[in-house]
């Protein structure tokens, strides 16, 4: 079923577009988009642009993940830190991070650091919030087990708190990765002169819709592959988990 429904929709779209039931100019047939993808990758341009976006995403994710997990753990374990930091997190979290781009470009100039940081902040807050949640919702009896069975201080952290929070940390990383991609494509759409977001923008300006859809398709596929990949890593690392929620 998970493949049949999109297949049927694509075939319908193809038919409607070919017979001009919908405007082929705005809704080009999927096969045309498919050939654009094939040609684009063969010519190297689509591959290059995808790599640009992927590289930005890699830097953004790496910048966000380590400090995000650390801050989340610290907030979860130290009440004063949580009380001090939580209001700011709650304030900034719901703001679409693309709105930080103007501010970051004023400070850093229009360029990669500002682009990457916009993506990174997007992931960062999600990772902090998920990690914090993982620590806060852990079964308090496991802490008692740790203490009664002689795990104190750093041992309690490594042997009990961190493993207990790990599933939530993975969820945070996965959501964060997705959010970073969203923010980066938006950044590319608005400000960058390269990347998949920029491709969408450029082909939209020229009304070359097959190319626009092709770029869309790559962004979607990237998001899907990356989050599925992280899920596979999670399943590998956390073999003890009963089941890992889908999507």
């Amino acid at each position: 079923m998970s493949l049949a429904v999109p297949a049927v929709l694509l075939v319908l779209w193809e038919i409607c577009s070919r017979h001009a039931i919908v405007s082929p100019r705005y809704f080009p047939p999927p096969t045309t988009v498919g050939w654009v993808l094939v040609d684009g990758f063969a010519a190297g341009d689509l591959g290059t642009q995808s790599l640009v976006t992927l590289t930005r995403l890699g830097f953004a994710f790496a910048t966000a993940a380590v400090p995000g997990v650390l801050l989340g753990l610290l907030m979860g374990m130290a009440r004063p830190v949580r009380d001090a930091v939580e209001p700011y997190i709650a304030f900034i979290f719901p703001v679409p991070k693309i709105t930080l781009l103007p501010f970051l470009t004023i400070i850093l100039g229009v360029g990669e650091p500002a682009f990457v940081l916009t993506g990174a902040t997007s992931a960062f807050f999600q990772i902090v919030i998920s990690t914090l949640g993982g620590v806060q919702t852990m079964d308090p009896r496991l802490l008692e087990v740790g203490r009664n069975y002689g795990a104190r201080g750093a041992r309690l952290f490594w042997k009990v708190i961190l493993p207990a929070a790990l599933p939530a940390i993975f969820t945070g990383l996965r959501l964060g990765l997705g959010l970073a991609l969203v923010a980066l494509v938006a950044v590319e759409f608005i400000a960058a002169k390269s990347g998949l977001g920029h491709l969408v923008y450029r082909h939209w300006q020229m009304l070359s819709t097959p190319e626009m859809y092709a770029a869309f398709a790559i962004v979607g596929a990237l998001g899907l592959l990356l989050t599925r990949g992280l899920r596979a890593v999670q399943a590998r690392v956390l073999t003890w988990q009963e089941e890992i929620g889908r999507l």
Binding site: R141, L142, E144, V145, R147, N148, Y149, G150, W240
Partner: protein, 267 residues
Amino acid sequence: MPTRAPKVLVNEVSVTFESHGRSVVALDRISLQAHAGEFLCIVGPSGSGKSTLLRVLAGLLPQSAGDVRIEADRPGTPLTAMVFQEHALLPWRTVRDNVTFGLENRGVGRAEREARAREMLAMVGLTRFAQHYPHQLSGGMKQRVGIARALANDPEVLLMDEPLAALDAQTRTIMQEELLRIWATLGKTVVYVTHSLEEALLLGDRIVLLTARPGRVSQVYSVDLGRPRGLEVRGSPAYGVLLEKIWSQLREEVVRAMAEDRGGEPA
């Protein structure tokens, strides 16, 4: 009856909580003793502070007043190991690694840890499940692991907090027999909290009855039903007499606790 040397001494222990700006007395000047090798059961209505008392003994909760002493006659072994309600196993550890958790924290070498795990898993009948994760086990099996984990740590005193309460009736009965067998084999001092009088009568040497909140010692009963004891004890006249006697007292406390709940703040 083994030696009468006191193992656990609880002297005038009180615990007071701060709750919504008011102080609530959970335990009020509790005094009791458990002798070496004794199976001491603590029974009382909900809210009588049974679990609180166990947490004070385990060093997980500081008492507000009074003192607790646990006589240590083997240096290097922990004072207590707790078997928790609903097992509280570490889900990311295999059965074997749950059992060796305490030993690992004390720096016991791998070979000795694994030998001890094998021994304890054999004792609770889970040898074949050493490499399983907790989520792959039934409730009764999980609690067996919880018991093996506590025994592997070889504590001076074994603390058990309603360990069988979450199990179905049949599994609970089997586990009670298992506990009797293990206790007879190892001769550990056990402090066992339960809300089931029948369970206390089946397992215990003595029963300490706590009052409704604040928890005080209401009565201490000797369970002179002989050893080894099995389920058939429930058919003996002495059992019936003792059950009746303790129940009439416990009943009063339960009714009082219920009245207090109704009269107090709505939950």
